[in-house]
Symmetry: none
Subunit: 218 residues, 4 copies
DNA sequence: AATGAATGAGTTTTCATTCAT
DNA sequence: GATGAATGAAAACTCATTCAT
């Protein structure tokens, strides 16, 4: 399909009658809506409209609003796993590797605000959808990578001992997630614009300081 | 409110008390519903039912679902502010004070899971409600307290310099919030029960290690 | 409620805000619609309209189209049972009693064409609704009455022996049911108006002839 | 149609045969669906699925759901007429001929439960389809045959006089139709399994008793 | 002859809110 | 203060049918 693009005239670009395209347009629109408004708040009609189709297609491809949400979640998990693969922590010094991980997490959430909305919705509903999904335990490769880095750091007497990679990963995610997910209330409560360029740079530095301050022995 | 009872004649007194009681039963029920299902997901009918009244009373006291949500938010903020007052960080050594803060935050979220749900909902809606509320900037006293503790710690050459109390507070909150708020997906993804007694103890230790590891100079 | 009617001004006659009345208006309208169009063919909107309310009330009182159908069935069964109570077969000679039963069945179906429609629908759906209903086995009193009449007739050597009252009842019902239920196709196929006054009289006579011809010994 | 095969070249032949096959698979599937669920309850999608094709073919061959229903009705009528031809009542004694007719009717409905469902649906809709169909009045041959048998019986002073063959035929059909069509509700109401082998044998005997009891003079 | 994709109109159901008592 | 009945607007979902290939 991708290979064809060059050959196909503009007309087809705008083509109706393209299953894959319609399907992923719906998925994309649904991702935005669900992230922004939650499962209950999202409107099937609006998703269809945003996707440039009609409600019926949504049911044609996904059967129900709920199943559409599952598909959206699955795609979101898949995306972050794909992105994580680009993190080559093996090739870096322990400190560099941790820096990369923190920066990556920060940037990923910054660029994919939908992901946080989806996670919230999913957790509000008891995480039912993830449970019945093949994505389960897919995060283990990342945990293994973190474990390996921690091990190397300890070998080199740079990192403290006894660090649980799962706890560490959760903490790294926490530091960016909470800040970004709650940016509105936090900005109000602390009378600061947490999303200004300056504030964002500061946050990243702070997070690096916290994580490395915790890990690195001196 | 309690002090007034003696003055008011018995009959009216009972009416008053019932009114107050109904009001707060609704507020309590609404807190649960909004926290669990969000603003859009919560059902006016269910709130009334849970509160043991009927829908009409809900409108009698709060005018609309939206205003009920605001009342719920306000009460939640009020509660956490009240609880924070019990934190006497002034009377403690810097390290003890920070420990107290971390433990307090952890326990508060643990015991008030609704609060996280409400924050999520509020942020999903752009934090509009907090903005139009007197609760704004009420967190400053806590920030000041943290600032004072950090200052003391630096004076005593125990804590690192240049720590922003707001960033620190956000980070402390982050570490517990993300863990608890996303317990379902995280438990699934890491195939661990994050809410077992053991896991909870470990998390608290880890958080203390991270925060103190970052702050304390050795 | 009935006793009040005389006292209450005309205005209230047309009253909104009368639970029982609304409920039974809906039930009545639904009976007609379901009988005429079946469960799938009936339109919730039309039922509401016919009942002089709105769709919402229908769900308020009956939860769903399906449950409304069950309520309709239950009421229909109840009605026929009530009507059957007026048949005083005990007080009649065996032959008169059987004549009464045949005539009653014929007239009841003639005057309650909905009942046949409902039975058809119910049977098309596997009779699920009757099964979960208290109406079950309520027909036994009638069967006992028929049994008693048959017994008397045999004692008096008027009726043949060995007649099963259930079979007999089914046969009596059959003779009117099929004729009335299939009046359209039968009229077409036999090029006769089966519903003319004359035809109806003839049918009743024929049925009496068949049943008594079968029962009576001469 | 079958006779033509030899003339048509192999390739086209196969196509033709497939076309015919698809057509009749649809017809068969539709018969089941319409009989079971009625015109409104039947789903075009499910019919296609059951027939192993897609919805489009259904429109290709039958233009619309309604016309498909008509085709189904027509085929059903055609089938029963065909079957009735096998009834050689002329060759039998009057009593044997009537026995054959009763048994035939019973067995035909027993083996073709769809036919009853279709009749119900058709009548629920006012019998419109039969009216616009060539099948009309096609039942007359049968009525004539019955008339002839009744005549013979009367001549031989075995049968009572004045019996209308149409009424008799309707009655015979009634006795089996009602029993089978309403087997679900009747089984429930009388707490008997009307479809057990024993019950079916008993019903046939009862029907023969009723009809012959009515007809035969002794 | 066959098929998957697309659609609009309609249908059931839900929801927050208000009325009448 | 309290309550059951009522409502209209909107939401999710369904269906027969048609389009494009």
């Amino acid at each position: 399909m991708i290979g064809n693009e060059a050959v196909v005239p503009a007309k087809l670009d705008k083509a109706t009658r393209n299953a894959d395209r319609t399907r992923s347009l719906i998925l994309e629109a649904a991702t935005q809506e669900f992230a922004e408004l939650g499962l209950a708040g999202a409107r099937v009609e609006k998703i269809a409209e945003k996707a440039g189709t009609n409600k019926r297609m949504l049911y044609y491809y996904f059967n129900s609003k709920d199943e559409l949400f599952i598909a959206v979640m699955e795609r979101a998990y898949f995306s972050i796993r794909e992105a994580e693969k680009e993190l080559h922590m093996h090739d870096q010094t322990p400190i560099e590797a941790i820096r990369s991980l923190v920066s990556f997490t920060w940037n990923y959430f910054l660029e994919h605000p939908e992901f946080m909305g989806l996670l919230n919705t999913e957790n509000a509903h008891g995480g039912v959808h993830v449970k019945n999904s093949e994505s389960t335990a897919l995060n283990m490769p990342l945990i293994d990578m973190i474990g390996e880095v921690l091990h190397r750091g300890q070998q080199e007497s740079i990192f403290r001992a006894g660090v649980d990679p799962v706890q560490l990963y959760i903490s790294i995610a926490s530091l960016t997630y909470f800040y970004l997910s709650n940016k509105h209330t936090l900005s109000t409560i602390f009378s600061r614009d947490l999303m200004s360029s300056k504030a964002k740079v500061e946050r990243l530095h702070h997070m690096l300081d916290v994580i490395l301050g915790y890990l690195v022995i001196n």
